[in-house]
Amino acid sequence: MRVIVDTEKCCGAGQCVLVAPKVFDQRDDGIVVLLDAAPASELHAAVREAACVCPGAAIRLDEQA
């Protein structure tokens, strides 16, 4: 799995940080910081949840990668 974040779309809600703190963090202004672009398989479920619930639809996943 490869994770791609779009900082333009990010609205700083922080849902991803609450759901998958090992993969996502926030800058001081709330914008997403990707900690791990290729998360281990045990984190995939949380990453999928984070992508799905992101209010800005700013997280894209490439499941093939």
């Binding site: 609205c11 609450l18 619930v53 209010p55």
Partner: protein, 402 residues
């Protein structure tokens, strides 16, 4: 407004059959009339969206704000000073572009809110101590739900605990559509403004370890925030963060206790709390008015073109029950995940306080599960009374025993 047609115009908001139940109109409108014509309490006309895809699309569209204080926009109520949506502070809070909102966002980012969790937990414990000392039965909303968000806001803004009750009254009044007279609303706004200006001056003289002091010292675009901008923050945080969260704590507990199996499921497995809170947020049918959007240009939504100048009301609660978006949308599933509900809006204007609200809800639920596993409603769920006259849906009380 020039939305003339032979179509039926529905009076909005709708009346639901019970305090925790959805209005019957929702399912009908989602199925047959996704762009419905409605009449607001002011008599002005607007359009109502109820489908998940439509509500999400419009809320996430960065072109439109919910600022109704502009020429041609529908008025929600007839009060002169209007509602939270015509209130500059609260309106710009959701607008995202002002530098003070940017600074506030920074202070409320998820990881900072997470750092506040132990304090929120301690405050929750204290409120539950007070409630249990008085003995069973008690009103959980009055004892915990109503005070906790004010305590949190007081702490956030560095206000003395003794001012909590005053703040609660002001925020309650400022958010009213028809509960208070215009004179009461004006007086509350003036008193709060006076109080908060004095508070800013005190913090300026002697900064503390709180969000307001931090914002006073913050520099953005080479400048400090003005008195007026700080005032906007104070008012915005109070009106947007108090009543909404209080009501949601009350409704969360009512929904979870209305069916004992839900409560018992959580007592047996408290690790479900995070996911359960999301489902409670999705399932809330007594969610209030919805979010307005004023169309500054034509937009296509739900297969129709809505003309520039239309006021649109997005019903997130109706959208959250859309079976095109959710399997078994009308069932509460405390394990439902992922759960991309629209309760906090979507896109760049989504709720700036959502991490804080989530943390408060999760904390209250966790502490209650641990402290009072035998908790139950002291009245039948159907007899809980709705709060009237507020934009944000809520209950009058949540009587419980343990």
């Amino acid at each position: 407004m020039s939305t003339e047609s032979s179509e039926q115009v529905l009076d909005y908001p709708f009346r639901a059959p019970g305090p925790l139940e959805p209005a019957e109109e929702w399912a009908k409108l989602r199925a047959g009339c996704p762009v419905a014509h409605i009449r607001l309490p002011s008599g002005d006309r607007a359009v109502l969206l109820t489908r998940y895809a439509d509500v999400r699309q419009l809320l996430a569209d960065p072109r439109f704000s919910h600022q109704l204080a502009q020429e041609g926009a529908a008025r929600i109520a007839t009060n002169e000073s209007g509602t939270v949506f015509e209130n500059e502070a609260a309106a710009s809070l959701v607008d995202g572009h002002q530098r003070w909102r940017r600074l506030l966002n920074k202070s409320l980012i998820a990881k900072r809110v997470s750092a506040m969790q132990p304090r929120i937990e301690a405050m929750t414990e204290q409120l539950i101590d007070d409630m249990t000392r008085q003995g069973s039965p008690a009103d959980l909303l009055g004892a915990v739900g109503f005070p906790l968000p004010v305590w949190v806001i007081c702490e956030l803004l560095g206000m003395p605990g003794v001012d909590r009750d005053k703040l609660a009254y002001w925020s309650n009044t400022m958010l009213s559509v028809s509960h208070y007279t215009q004179a009461e609303i004006d007086a509350a706004q003036a008193e709060f403004a006076r109080y908060f200006m004095a508070h800013i001056a005190a913090k300026r003289a002697e900064p503390g370890d709180d969000l307001l002091s931090e914002l006073i010292l913050a520099v953005d675009e080479g400048q400090h925030l003005t008195e007026r901008e700080l005032m906007m923050i104070g008012q915005g945080v109070l009106v947007a963060g108090h009543e909404t969260t209080s009501n949601m704590i009350g409704k969360m507990m009512a929904m979870l206790l209305a069916d004992r199996a839900r409560w018992e499921q959580l007592v047996a497995d408290p690790s479900l709390v995070r996911v359960a809170v999301e489902e409670v947020l999705r399932f809330d049918a007594n969610a209030g008015f919805g979010l307005p959007r004023f169309l500054s240009e034509d937009v296509e939504v739900g297969g129709q073109t809505l003309p520039r100048g239309t006021t649109v009301i997005c019903s997130m609660a109706a959208a959250n029950r859309d079976d095109q978006a959710y399997e078994r949308a009308d069932a509460m599933d405390l394990r439902r995940s992922p759960n991309p509900h629209l309760t906090f809006g979507a896109g760049p204007h989504s709720c700036v306080g959502q991490a804080l609200a989530r943390t408060e809800l999760q904390t209250v639920l966790s502490v209650l599960l641990r402290r009072l596993p035998t908790l139950e409603l002291a009245v039948p769920a159907g007899s809980l009374a709705r709060r009237e006259g507020l934009l944000v849906g809520g209950l009058e009380g949540v009587p419980v025993r343990w």
